[in-house]
């Protein structure tokens, strides 16, 4: 990676505190909007009122959105509790999206990981688990970071994934972390190595915070579907019509 130095500098400045519990959480104060966090999946999405989806209009009219799509990731979208507790319903995680749950027996799943990376965390004692589907290693500018969902980037999404799990009672020491994705296209154009950058950034983040990546299925050119069973903590990978277990207790 030709810009490893840059990546490292970015990480060093913030990494030490990235995945720690905050004082607020340690004192047991319930964060705003978490009255039902014990049972309810939390999900991060774009705000609906921010005008997302106007890009093609801007493109066709010669304008590119400069800003104002809104900072997602600060808003927690509660899923319908009836839906989430019904048997057989899976919690689907989209691109640049994440879900953290506690106390349910459902499966969290994300489909078609290309160069993106799926990260699962699971605390078997607290019964807390989550899945993040990020697409890029880090925002290239501060401005971009403020416009996009935190779950779009490893440097923002991974810390947020852990923090939200802490809020539901998980602890770093018990967390089982798995990853999948980071595929690359073929040819010289793949010198961009976006998949590799995503993978390396995750490893750096975890390493700097003394967290072990228990299992990973990354690289190559296959698309993967990743799922986390909240019942057992098992992580499965679906690739080319075959299913394999990445991690199981």
């Amino acid at each position: 990676m030709e810009d490893d130095g840059t990546l490292r500098c970015d990480l060093l400045s913030e990494c030490d505190d990235l995945l720690r519990r905050s004082d607020q959480e340690t004192l047991g104060r319930a964060p705003k909007g978490h009255a039902h966090a014990g049972q309810t999946p939390l999900r991060w999405k774009l705000r609906e009122s921010d005008g997302a989806g106007r890009g093609i209009e801007n493109a066709l009219s010669g304008r590119i959105p400069k800003s104002g799509l809104g900072r997602a990731g600060l808003e927690h979208r509660m899923l319908n509790s009836n839906k989430t507790t019904s048997k057989g319903v899976k919690l689907s995680v989209g691109i640049a999206d994440m879900v953290v749950v506690k106390g349910c027996n459902q499966e969290i799943i994300t489909h078609a990981l290309g160069s993106c990376v799926g990260v699962t965390i699971f605390d078997p004692i607290a019964g807390v688990g989550g899945l993040l589907h990020y697409m890029l290693d880090r925002p290239r500018t501060e401005a971009r970071a403020s416009e996009h969902p935190v779950a779009m980037y490893a440097t923002l999404g991974v810390p947020e994934l852990f923090r939200e799990a802490y809020k539901l009672g998980a602890t770093k020491e018990r967390m089982i972390v798995c990853a999948a994705g980071a595929a690359e296209m073929l040819g010289h154009g793949s010198a961009l190595k976006i998949g590799k950058r995503n993978q390396v950034m995750l490893r750096k983040l975890l390493w700097k915070n003394d967290i072990t990546l228990v299992a990973e299925d990354t690289g190559g050119s296959d698309a993967r579907t990743m799922s986390l069973s909240m019942r057992s903590g098992a992580v499965d990978i679906h690739c080319r019509n075959s299913r394999s277990t990445l991690w199981t207790p």
Partner: protein, 278 residues
């Protein structure tokens, strides 16, 4: 080539041509186009005309009065919304079910087509090398050959080949060696049979492998838009990301790492706004 063309002609079932969409997008990409001309094109397709009228009378446009005039509706909606509506109509048709042999579920090919179209239009706008409307249409139809592959190749044959492929296999070469043709070539032939322009057909033909010499910006744009979608996992099935990303095409468009980050992130945001399921 003749045999492929002939085989396509002999197929009993082939998707209806998306001609109105193509004609509409080409017209909308022109700077000087009259609303009467747009109205004429839309009126060729009754379902499209109905969709345009319904949309123009929706609360989203704050219409104080209901219009039944297609001309008024066209003026009210504007270019980009007209293209969106036309593309949505296509979903009801062939693309929604394309790519079964590639392991794609219903709707996945459509989502990838739309995502590629959005990315291509954005690249066309920023690079100013091709009309965004044409980029949109070419990228929207780039994988129409996958639909025809479902008909041309025996059930399960392509799927088996894709599952058994080596990890670093080039999918285009694999398809050619297994069947004598690939989906990009099939798509181009299909486009010509639909009566689409040679420009669009060539963009479809080369969307996985832009010619190294005498490159056409439209081809390069569709190729890079396809790559953006693949890296986001859109429309990626059993074939995975097993297509080459052409560095020369990237270079001709000036798409470095920063730009690819830009297009990937913008596309994700756009898709989020368009379709919560995406």
């Amino acid at each position: 080539m003749d045999s492929l063309t002939e085989r396509l002609r002999q197929l009993d079932q082939l998707p209806a041509e998306p001609g109105v969409l193509v004609e509409l997008s080409v017209a909308l990409s022109q700077l000087e186009v009259s609303s009467a001309e747009i109205e004429r094109i839309i009126s060729l397709d009754s379902a499209l005309a109905l969709a345009v009228l319904r949309r123009s009378n929706s609360a989203a446009y704050g219409a104080s009065s209901c219009t039944s005039s297609l001309c008024d509706a066209v003026t009210r909606l504007g270019k980009s919304d007209l293209l969106r509506i036309a593309a949505a109509q296509l979903r009801e048709g062939p693309l929604d079910d394309a790519g079964r042999s590639y392991g794609l579920h219903s709707g996945e090919a459509w989502r990838a087509a739309r995502a590629g179209a959005l990315a291509a239009a954005s690249i066309g706008t920023r690079t100013d090398l091709a009309a965004p409307g044409v980029c949109f249409t070419a990228a929207l139809l780039r994988d129409c050959g996958k639909l025809a592959m479902d008909y041309l190749v025996a059930v399960g044959e392509l799927e088996s080949a894709l599952i058994a492929r080596p990890a670093d296999a080039n999918m285009i070469e694999l398809e050619r060696s297994a069947f004598g043709f690939d989906h990009a070539e099939v798509g181009a032939e299909l486009a010509l049979q639909w009566g689409l322009s040679i420009e669009l057909a060539e963009a479809i033909r080369h969307h996985h492998a832009p010619p190294s010499e005498g490159g056409c910006p439209l081809v390069d744009i569709v190729h890079c838009a396809d790559a953006v979608c693949s890296m986001l996992g859109l429309g990626v099935g059993l074939d995975g990301l097993g297509y080459p990303l052409d560095a020369d095409a990237q270079g001709r468009l000036g798409l470095g790492l920063e730009e690819m980050y830009f297009y990937m992130s913008e596309l994700a945001v756009e898709l989020e706004g368009l379709d919560p399921a995406c």
